[in-house]
């Protein structure tokens, strides 16, 4: 180790940024005609990646999500982070009135509980029943083939098909049959804003859901999986999983009427779990709810399972990690956790010097006794 202090830190940082940029553009060395990724390509062809960044970043901005994917070279944690940081530069103008997902313009809707759900089951775009065989023909996909498919697909369609765009919720029917807990009239508390208020435990369910909706997919999945495998007892059935566009409705300043300002892609899932006895009524099933921005089914299902687990933990006291709200909610945010893990790479020379001083003094004291 040299005793020259860390001079030239500035140069090293500039150098690191330049090297990253070199890697981003290196392809041109090998393919002189290589083109930079354009944002539209990322938005359309890597849509699940964009969706993931949107939901973990917590801002529905597909274009900027694509940009952050591009500049982070596809690192989802970094990309979600940049999107989060961007939101700090924009003032909060308002919150929407409570939106109702039964108005969702659905593109996929399934139920594992019933075959015949009112409105029917539509698989939409899903890899669920696809064979995970590598499609070798895509290795050298020609532009012509690529440009042809969507047009043809639309042509083959039946223009008179008129499936309704929105559907009733499966659990509404179960509730009407008295199989689910009845809705309480007084549960209309103000939603909890996790971007403004610190989480002080115990937290409301509103805070729990908001925290999970922004969580890192893998972290949420790991905790939910622990519950599914045996550190818990949810044993869920997916009552309904739907993906679609929810209209964002905001009141008009002059007329007061709700106007559609845009739409956001949302994945939503309700799981039904074992029934439980109620003190003063017949037993009913228990429910878990999950939803997130973008198309991300694993996240919505994991969230629904954890929601159910956390409800149980709140009621009976946690008996495993996935039922402990503090454990779950404080460790699933991708930006917080990756930031803290990264910060250990920073210099800690001064504190380590101080540690050395204490250890040596303690060793001396020990030697004296």
């Amino acid at each position: 180790m040299s005793y020259v202090p860390i001079k030239g830190g500035g140069q090293a940082i500039a150098g690191a940024a330049a090297v990253t940029e070199f890697l981003r553009t290196e392809q041109a060395l090998h393919q002189p005609n290589a083109q930079a990724l354009d944002l539209q390509t990322i938005q359309f062809q890597l849509r699940h990646l964009v969706d993931r960044v949107i939901s973990e970043g917590g801002v529905y901005h597909p274009e900027l999500a694509a940009l952050s994917i591009k500049q982070s070279l596809g690192d989802t944690l970094e990309a979600a982070f940049s999107l989060r940081a961007w939101r700090s530069t924009r003032p909060r103008l308002c919150a929407t009135p409570a939106l109702d997902t039964s108005k969702m313009r659905v593109i996929r809707r399934i139920s594992a509980a019933f075959k015949d759900i009112p409105g029917g089951q539509m698989l939409g775009a899903t890899p669920d029943y696809a064979l995970r065989l590598l499609r070798m023909e895509l290795i050298n996909e020609s532009d012509a083939t690529f440009q042809h498919y969507a047009k043809e697909w639309l042509k083959q369609s039946n223009p008179t098909a008129t499936t309704p765009m929105s559907f009733p919720k499966v659990i509404s029917a179960l509730r009407a049959d008295g199989l689910l807990p009845a809705l309480e009239a007084d549960r209309t508390a103000q939603a909890f804003d996790i971007t403004r208020e610190p989480l002080i435990f115990p937290v409301s369910r509103s805070a729990t859901l908001a925290t999970m909706a922004r969580a890192e997919t893998g972290s949420l999945l790991a905790l939910a999986y622990s519950n599914m495998r045996g550190y818990g007892d949810v044993h869920p059935t997916v009552a309904e999983l739907r993906v679609g566009y929810v209209p964002i409705m905001l009141p008009h300043a002059v007329t007061g009427e709700l106007i559609e300002a845009g739409e956001v892609l949302v994945t939503e899932c309700e799981v039904i779990a074992m029934y439980e006895a109620q003190s003063d009524a017949k037993p009913v099933f228990t429910l878990g709810y999950g939803a997130c921005l973008g198309h991300n089914e694993v996240k919505a299902i994991s969230m629904a399972i954890l929601d159910r687990a956390l409800q149980k933990g709140k009621k009976d006291g946690p008996t495993n990690p996935s039922e402990d709200a503090e454990f779950v909610l404080l460790h699933i945010d991708g930006v917080d956790s990756m930031g803290f893990a990264s910060h250990y790479k920073m210099p800690h020379y001064v504190t380590f010097q101080s540690d050395l001083d204490r250890l040596r003094t303690a060793q001396q004291q020990e030697a004296c006794t």
Partner: protein, 151 residues
């Protein structure tokens, strides 16, 4: 006559490219005094969702939101206010939409041109709806035929 309800105006108009809308708003207000009742702002809105299990409300996340409120005055008692909130990070777009909102709502001079944009936009949106409809129609699981083939 405008047959499209006001609640769908922003959705229909934003089917057009942003710069077209800004240019249209400029053209239609060449002879009007435009005063800002609320500064054009680009910020964020919070999505409040009512979850379906217990009907608790929670925030799903944020979205870029721009808003503006204007009053247009063409003289001779021809005036009206308009407001727009649009899912975009673009205050200028919000201003243009607020202007078009005023023109359409109060049938201010040359409103027919704005109405034409509105209808064309609506047509584009119907195409998109149709496309989504096809996704559903082509992937519907027909349990009746499933049952029929089962022994």
């Amino acid at each position: 006559m405008i047959n499209i309800p006001q609640k769908d105006w922003i959705r229909a108009l934003t089917a057009h490219p942003t710069h077209d809308l800004i240019r249209l708003a400029e053209t239609l207000t060449r002879d009007a005094a435009v005063s800002l009742l609320q500064l054009p702002q680009a910020g964020l809105g919070l999505i409040t969702l009512q979850e379906s299990a217990f009907h608790d409300q929670f925030y799903l996340g944020e979205f870029p939101l721009s808003s503006c409120q204007v009053e247009l005055d063409y003289g001779a008692d021809l005036r009206g206010t308009g407001h727009a909130q649009v899912m975009a990070d673009d205050a200028e777009l919000a201003k243009a939409l607020a202007i078009l909102d005023a023109i359409l709502a109060h049938q201010l001079p040359n409103w027919q041109l704005a109405a034409q944009y509105l209808e064309q936009g609506q047509a584009k949106r119907s195409q998109l709806d149709q496309q989504r409809n096809q996704i559903l129609a082509k992937t519907r699981v027909d349990f009746a035929t499933l049952d029929a083939v089962e022994p």
